[in-house]
């Protein structure tokens, strides 16, 4: 397996458009010299990879390619864009649009990431040990095509609009989320182990959101269906009990919202509406 180590040579002050950092792109290069000459944009100027990173080849041979970024990558944008295979490991914080439109492979971040993590993602897996910004697995601005496959796991918390326009795949957030998680969602599953700051599932038409923490309240355009003891997510069986809501009826939606019964005592009044 070929492994490439990238170490920033300085503390970046301006954003770096770094979608060239992707295993598929590096694998196309035959020698490490070619990788060093890949062009990234530092602000509005083109720069070679070698001019801003120390590029080191750790291991050689084999097909699968691993890229390791050691150091602060929070100014890097679009790392792993459209990648189909291989691995990217970031030891430190990563910037926005990480794993944008990725089709396969794995991205692991030991740190926090910026917004638009895995937006338009179609396949593969992203794991983040820290927090993520807004728009995890969402569509780009104005579009109605969000994440349509793959898995995103954030161990920490995430910002607003997790899974906006999501079509398929799985997002799991270990901590809390901001507002509008699952907004416009059409399919797939979002699991939130912490709490939501409100308006969860607004305008959702399909798919499922499971919340283990508090939701404050559920939008009035959701109607209660039943109480379930277990939520099945793939192989997992998440113990409940859960209030199960259907919605968003304002959009003629048929999504499902699972909300922990024990953590949301103020939703008890819904029980009288269960037939």
């Amino acid at each position: 397996m070929t492994r490439i180590l990238l170490r920033p040579r300085k503390l970046f002050k301006v954003p770096i458009e770094a979608s060239a950092i992707s295993p598929d792109n590096f694998a196309a290069a035959r020698k490490v010299e070619e990788i060093k000459n890949q062009v990234v944009w530092e602000g509005n100027r083109p720069a070679t990879l070698a001019s801003i990173f120390d590029v080191e080849e750790l291991e050689q041979g084999g097909e699968l390619l691993e890229i390791i970024i050691e150091g602060d990558a929070s100014k890097l944008r679009g790392v792993g864009k459209g990648m189909g295979s291989g691995t990217i490991t970031v030891e430190g914080n990563a910037g926005i649009r990480l794993g944008e439109a990725m089709r396969g492979g794995t991205i692991t971040v030991n740190g926090n990431v910026g917004s638009w993590l895995g937006s338009r993602m179609r396949g593969g897996r992203i794991e983040v040990s820290g927090d993520a910004g807004d728009y995890v697995g969402s569509a780009i601005r104005g579009s109605t095509r969000g994440m349509s496959g793959g898995q995103i796991v954030v161990r920490g918390s995430a910002g607003n609009e997790v899974g906006c326009w999501m079509r398929d795949g799985m997002i799991r957030i270990g901590g809390n989320v901001g507002q509008f998680a699952g907004v416009h969602m059409l399919g797939g599953t979002i699991v939130i182990e912490g709490s939501s700051r409100g308006r969860i599932g607004a305008s959702m038409k399909g798919g499922r959101i499971v919340v283990l923490g508090e939701v404050g309240r559920v939008l009035p355009s959701f109607s209660i269906e039943e109480i379930r003891n277990v939520a099945r997510v793939g192989e997992d069986r998440i113990p409940g009990p859960f209030y199960v809501f259907a919605g968003d009826l304002a959009d003629d939606g048929d999504g499902r919202l699972y909300v922990s019964k024990d953590r949301n005592l103020e939703l008890r009044f819904y029980e009288s509406y269960i037939e």
Binding site: A139, G142, S143
Partner: protein, 563 residues
């Protein structure tokens, strides 16, 4: 600067030249008889030479175009152009930014483009954007079909005052022609409604769309405007609307001296059938009317199978489209003298309705025998972006190209269209008419659309040999050549070479300088001052756009009105 374009195959239908090997001499931005021996020589051997393209209907600037840009970041996402030493950066697939619009038209060999729907109150915005649209010459059509003053004057039978008003308005907005969108219907939309046909009453005004269209057609003649009234009829986008379209054409038949009405993006108003599931083409009926009558011209409004943005001054139609498609929608300008809406749309091959629409546009162009009466448009961006014109040309020139698209589209629609039975294939001469000569003639732009002595030296040269190529078979080669002009010459300057911008010039903005007799002028001034004080949030003086606000003003003086 002098320029001599040598040895090209010239297609210039307005002067009866069809694929002749001719030299074209250019001096001072005009086409001349001959030039001195020191002229720059441009070798056009084995190339097709035509007048620069003239687009009669393309939404390229103004309030709703800009709103569409704001509404559609995803439209710009994949389609952007980097800055070069000469050109600015820009974005946009269906709603390109101003500079990109100018560059892209010039690359295709187009040199004159009309923005066809300007809310008068927002005309300043339109002109600011047109000023920033480089290379091409431009003009805009202000909207008058739902204007309170117009409706008041017409209701009272004050044609003279109506003419005086429009004369002032054309100067105030620096407009070029009278545009009518869903006459009366948009006024009804201000109250949440619409009109159902040519004879339904407009709420609060006691006037019918028929009276508005006829009245404005008469005023158009009184003012001696170079272009006929430019009409987007009632009921656009509704099955069965072909009858309304024919009635609209018929209602001004007796007012004809030459063309009295231009029906725009006719595809959208040639639907037959009761509802969407029984939708059929009304192109045969429309074409029959156009073939038998000489007072009508139309443009196609061809749709392209792509993602695009619809935008029109027809507010109620966009609301219906939003309800059908569930896509995002903006309602606009209802507080102004007009209305408008924007909804993104994806035309799909597999959709019965879309495939039928595709066929209707082409049927119109192929069934109307005289190419001087039908012009090529996609109603950019409503039917598709203008960058798809070469594709439309290939469908017109090649039955094979049409069959190929038909084989990949909704088969139920393919079986119902008569397109299969239409053998007609446009020649290069006919293409030059529907994209240049005909549109320039309809617009009354005497220096455009031809290559005779005295014409503006707007010339497009394509890397294709019209004598050798068989467009019916090699339609792909035609399409490719038309996408990137070998050369585009604008006012005698080579602005494009091999599809790349070589020179950026400022295009003209045409507007109509119309006058009415002095007493009438004073009367309308008095009335308007009062109306501005009572109804407008803008002062009458600030409403008026000064000539200095146009980057390159080109007034067309039409003389005093016959009142």
């Amino acid at each position: 600067m002098e320029l001599l374009i040598k040895n090209g195959y010239v297609v210039d239908p307005a002067n009866g030249i069809d694929c002749e090997k001719l030299d074209i001499a250019v001096r001072g931005g005009k086409i001349v008889e001959e030039v001195s021996s020191s002229a720059k020589i441009l070798d056009a051997s084995n190339m097709l030479v035509m007048p620069g393209g003239v687009d009669i209907h393309s939404h390229i600037a103004g309030s709703k175009t800009n709103l569409a840009r704001v509404l559609r970041p995803e439209d710009h996402f994949r389609d952007f152009e980097r800055r070069t030493a000469l050109t600015r950066s820009g974005v946009g697939h269906s709603v390109p930014s101003t500079y990109t619009t100018g560059y892209r038209y010039a690359r295709m060999g187009y040199t004159t483009v009309i923005e066809p729907a300007t809310p008068p109150l927002k005309a300043r915005h339109t002109h600011d954007e047109l000023n920033d649209t480089p290379i091409i010459d431009k003009a805009c059509f202000p909207l008058f079909g739902n204007n309170w003053h117009v409706m008041e004057y017409l209701k009272n039978g004050d044609l003279e005052l109506c003419a005086a008003y429009l004369s002032w308005m054309l100067r105030a907005t620096k407009g070029y022609a009278i545009k009518i969108v869903n006459p009366g219907g948009v006024e009804a939309w201000h109250w949440g409604g619409n009109v159902v046909g040519l004879d339904s009453e407009v709420p609060h005004f006691g006037i019918t769309p028929r009276e508005i269209v006829r009245g404005l057609c008469k005023v158009n003649k009184m003012l001696k405007l170079p272009h006929a009234i430019h009409v987007h009829p009632n009921n656009l986008g509704k099955p069965g609307n072909y009858l309304t379209t024919i009635k609209t054409m018929e209602c001004v038949k007796d007012l004809a001296e030459g063309a009295s009405i231009h029906i725009t993006h006719c595809q959208f108003t040639s639907f037959k059938g009761e509802d969407w599931s029984t939708l059929r083409s009304g192109a045969q009926e429309i074409a029959r009317y156009v073939n038998r009558n000489d007072h009508v011209t139309i443009d196609m409004g061809q749709i392209i199978f792509t993602a695009t943005t619809t935008m029109t001054g027809d507010g109620p139609f966009e609301y219906i489209l939003h309800q059908i498609s569930g896509r995002k929608w903006v309602n606009k300008d209802v507080e102004a003298e007009t209305g408008a809406g924007v909804v993104p749309v994806v035309y799909k091959r597999r959709s019965f309705v879309n495939a039928t629409q595709w066929a209707i546009g082409l049927e119109l162009a192929l069934l109307i025998e005289d190419p001087w009466k039908v012009y090529l448009t996609t109603d950019h961006p409503n039917g598709g972006p203008f960058t798809a014109y070469p594709r439309v040309v290939s469908w017109l020139m090649s039955k094979r190209a049409r069959e190929r698209t038909m084989s990949r589209m909704n088969q139920s629609a393919a079986r119902k269209t008569i397109l299969q039975s239409l053998e007609r294939e446009y020649s290069f001469e006919e293409i030059a008419i529907v994209t240049r000569a005909g549109t320039a003639k309809a617009l009354g732009l005497k220096a455009k659309g031809h290559l005779g002595v005295g014409a503006d030296a707007d010339i497009s040269i394509y890397r294709i040999n019209p004598k050798e190529i068989d467009p019916s078979r090699d339609y792909r080669a035609v399409r490719k050549a038309l996408r990137r002009a070998a050369y585009t010459v604008k006012d005698g300057q080579i602005v494009v070479k091999d599809g790349e911008i070589k020179e950026v010039v400022q295009g003209r903005t045409f507007w109509i300088d119309s006058r009415v007799p002095k007493d009438l002028e004073e009367k309308i001034h008095r009335e308007l001052s009062k109306s501005f004080r009572e109804y407008y949030t803008v002062g009458m003086e600030n409403y008026f756009i000064g000539e200095g606000e146009l980057a390159r003003s080109s007034p067309i003086y039409v003389g005093e009105a016959k009142v």
